[in-house]
Amino acid sequence: MKKGIKSRFFSRRRSLFTIGIICSVIIAFFTIIGPFIWNADPTATDYANQCLPPSGEHWFGTDNNGRDVFTRVISGAHLSIGVALAVVGIGAAIGITVGIVAGFAGGAVDTILMRIVEIMLSFPGIIFALAVLGTLGNGTEHQIIALAAVRWAHYARLVRIETISVMNSEYLPASRAIGNSKLRIVFRYILPNIIGRVIVIATLSIGPVILAGASLSYLGLGAQIPSPEWGLMINGGKEYIRQAPWITVAPGIAAVFTAFSFNLLGEGIGDLIDPRLKEKAEVD
């Protein structure tokens, strides 16, 4: 096991992070600034030039309603990433609080909270999202609620494991013995020691959440026609797959690129904070 023990401390530590940053900058450029440059209205139909192949004017060609695919992909990015960040944000916030409370309080509180988390986790995320969307009705807001309702359980479980490992550490009773109040222990001892891992796990989970959101829209339960959501575009382009494949291929590549760059960003941060941090976040 000579190789196993070799410290990977110095292998390409910086590079992963830099690639991640570059990709995120590109995405940020397109999503924030993009709409101002390519300000054609993504939903305006223009039957004159339907299904044009990619050309100088239409980089990604046009779809069956004559809309420029490139503009739609950019404004779609706005939507998809926005939804994903919202879901991860809400999920992480609830997850962290529940995780720390469960880990810190222990005993009955811990068991009850963990039973709830277990039931949430042992349930297929998509089915739960379908149930929520089926009842509350479609639309992006409900999509965020549906996805966040499952994500928080993942974060809660991981945060609890981290909190418990801090609770069982040597320095916790010492912090108690020197006279720290409970609140100070949570904020000065527990949070700093787990926040690094939580950020990495949150960043790593943005990619999968984008894909989950897109698949919900693909099934027609998330964003509704005519909004330029990637999942929806891919579903829309399905019929024209033979003559105009770019309608489906373009949003697909955009989704893969975005998800992958968030993954690189997450692993990059992980390498910086703590090289052993390679565990991937759960995905629903």
Binding site: K3, F123, P124, I126, I127, G134, Y218, L219
Partner: protein, 329 residues
């Protein structure tokens, strides 16, 4: 003594299972009922506009939608216990008659995908861990991460484009061609593309986890001692590390069940493959509450049973019965 311990645990698990199912049914039932949107719309469709007030009232009464929620729930529960899960508003027949033929398809797809995914994951993880940080490990990691990030519905569409539209090798949807219901060969042909999508989008996630657990195991002191005992690298992995990672693999397999089922839902929708997943999507779209209830409960039951089995197996494999340590406070 050992036998008594296991039976005691199983009883505990069974009770927990029924409680979980009960909680699930209550949650989904009330979620469905409290939501906006009118179930009658799904049942009668356009005809609803032509019906006047009294007819609508009668229809609501007949479908039992008018009494208060608790009564509705208990009426539903009563029926459920006798196997009658109420009417599917969309298909206008008993829910379970709609579901029964489809269970086979979903289970077939799900279980085969599950087994192949884990076989592949374990093999790849071991190979990658053994060759840690050399070219083989890097390639496996890069390819794996790439497949993981390709959205399954997009991969499905692309595969359909290549294999069924252009090459015509595999059918693009459905579980079997019309009339060839019994022909196994035909059914398998229909399952190929969905299976590829399922496996491609899942295997790396677990392979990566198992690989990391193996790498952690390599860093443990007993591996250094095993090396000092004169064992070769392969022997150490086979005799010690894999054996010690087994409990973790089993717990990963337990967590994986809900993920794989989610995957089945999406794949069924993409390929129009008639199964529970597809049904769930439709019932969500058209607010077909009873159908939604049925699909949710079915998946829930399947998931709970599988994870309880995995947990029991896991506790048997790991001899270190963990004694709960009082948190020093």
């Amino acid at each position: 003594m050992k036998k008594r311990r296991i039976t005691k645990k199983i009883i505990k698990r069974v009770i927990l299972f029924f409680i979980a199912m009960f909680v699930l049914s209550v949650v989904v039932f009330f979620l469905a009922r409290l939501a906006p949107g009118d179930p009658l719309q799904a049942f009668y469709g356009e005809a609803l506009d032509t019906m006047d007030e009294s007819q609508i009232e009668a229809a609501r009464q007949r479908l039992g939608l008018d009494d208060n929620l608790f009564v509705q729930y208990f009426k539903w529960l009563g029926g459920a216990l006798h196997g009658d899960f109420g009417l599917s508003l969309k298909y206008k027949m008993k829910v379970q008659n709609v579901v029964n033929p489809l269970i086979g398809n979903t289970l077939g797809l799900g279980i085969t995908a599950y087994c192949v995914v884990f076989a592949l994951a374990i093999v790849l993880a071991t190979v990658a861990a053994l060759h840690e940080d050399d070219w083989l490990d890097k390639i496996i990691c890069k390819v794996g991460t790439a497949t993981y990030y390709i959205p399954s519905f997009w991969l499905g569409v692309v595969l359909v484009l290549i294999f069924s539209v252009n090459l015509g090798w595999f059918p693009s949807s459905g579980a079997y061609d019309v009339g060839k219901q019994g022909d196994i060969g035909n059914r398998i042909q229909h399952m190929i593309l969905p299976l590829i999508v399922m496996i491609a989008s899942h295997f790396w996630y677990y392979a990566y986890m198992i690989r990391n657990k193996l790498l952690d195991e390599f860093r443990k002191d007993y591996v250094l001692l095993a090396k000092a005992k004169g064992l070769t690298r392969r022997q150490i992995v086979w005799k010690h590390c894999l054996r010690n990672v087994a409990p973790t693999i089993v717990s990963i397999m337990a967590i994986a069940i809900p993920h794989v089922i989610s995957g089945t839902v999406v794949v069924e929708a993409v390929f129009g493959y008639p199964g529970i997943g597809n049904l769930a999507v439709e019932s969500a779209k058209y607010h077909d509450y009873n159908m939604l209830m049925m699909t949710v409960l079915l998946t829930g039951a399947f998931v709970f049973i599988a994870s309880f089995v995995a947990q029991t197996v896991n506790e048997e494999i790991d001899p270190r019965m963990k004694v709960t340590k009082e948190i020093r406070w």
